[in-house]
């Protein structure tokens, strides 16, 4: 088994899995019908992408019993390698949108680079996903503008989310040992090269939204090493409940 490749795929997939799960929590609880449907649609796109990644990871894992389902449902917390940003709670609509906004900008740039990966399967998944993620970015950046340049109330609340979630953005660009090995082989994405474009992309939208760009350089990290925030355990207990209670159940 190619351990670096396996870990690399898991790292990418877990971001989409956990964010998809977070958005799924809002199903039927969105602030309006349209935003509710949008959230679940984005969640569905992410889960679709996750399935492709996990099927591939199961294949390269060398473990006969590994499937997309065991990877999604039967790992322990430390084995999930998603960034801390995506596990942050929905809190309110502003937080949900800003979390999405911070992630979508990265996701879009990341996939554009992954399209040229030497690994054909990853390149194919990227090509497919990028079309969907373009719509996610359009949705989240549009809402940041609307909330920021909206009422006094919406401005105050979205500004709070922009500032609170800011400290989780730097981790998006961190590289694990597996990431570095994959970059060296032309399979992985050199995330450091995306950083400038990323902050320009979100900075431009924030400016249009009349929101000041946060200046703090205090960053949180750990998710990529499997060290998560307190929220992660709650997400997993919800997500894994059925498989843990009724092992191998299907519907």
């Amino acid at each position: 088994m190619n351990k670096d490749l396996y870990n690399y795929i898991i790292g990418i997939a877990d971001n989409s899995l956990i964010l998809g799960q977070r958005l799924g929590e809002l199903c039927g609880h969105g602030p309006s019908l349209e935003t509710d449907i949008a959230g679940t649609n984005i969640s569905l796109d992410l889960f679709g992408q996750v399935r492709s990644y996990f099927q591939y990871a199961a294949q390269v894992s060398g473990d006969e019993n590994a499937t997309e389902d065991t990877l999604a449902f039967l790992r322990i917390e430390r084995e999930y390698k998603n960034v801390l940003l995506v596990e942050q709670p929905n809190t309110d609509f502003a937080y949900t949108i800003v979390r999405q906004f911070y992630f979508d900008a990265f996701h879009l740039l990341f996939l554009k680079a992954l399209e040229t990966s030497k690994d054909e399967t990853l390149a194919a998944i990227a090509k497919k996903s990028i079309k969907e993620v373009s719509y996610h970015w359009r949705f989240s950046s549009d809402w940041v503008r609307r909330l920021g340049d909206g009422t006094e109330e919406s401005h105050t609340r979205v500004l709070e989310a922009v500032n609170e979630l800011w400290m989780y953005t730097d981790e998006l660009f961190h590289q694990t040992e597996a990431d570095k090995a994959m970059i060296a082989q032309g399979i992985g994405v050199e995330t450091l090269a995306l950083k400038e474009t990323y902050y320009k992309m979100i900075g431009d939208v924030l400016e249009e939204a009349t929101l000041p760009i946060p200046e703090s350089k205090y960053w949180h990290k750990g998710g990529k090493q499997g060290i998560h925030t307190e929220h992660m355990g709650y997400i997993l207990s919800d997500m894994q409940y059925m498989q843990r209670t009724y092992p191998n159940m299907e519907w």
Partner: protein, 155 residues
Amino acid sequence: MISILEGVSDPEIPVLSIMDMGVVREAIEQDGIVRVKITPTYSGCPAMDVIGDDIVSAFAKAGKTAKIQLVLAPAWTTDWITPRGREALEKYGIAAPLSPEADKEALLGNKKIVKCTNCGSTETHLVSQFGSTACKALFKCDTCQEPFDYFKCLK
């Protein structure tokens, strides 16, 4: 083989055969087994599993065994919907996808170009970028007041 595949339709859009939808990429009969390659419209589209099962049972009815393979590359685009498919969509009440540039203008609300499937007016506006399924956006006609789906351009 083609007539069997044409008999299978998208479960979400029953008027549209999977052939007109452009999701069938290849079908080869070899050693008594039909191998069909299909490609998803959207990654998370729940219809794909159903389409796969429907193809298998359509071939089973014709006394053939079919095996499905899901292929991701090249990625599906709305350009693969045939002219007949576009017509079927419109008749069913779903506006067919525009060109990518026009699509962007329409979804950003810059231009009124999406035609109402009910009365044909272009006095329409976007209600939601995401509609009843991943592939559609929700529009409303300002002339006849009817809401309708628009099939988003994917390219």
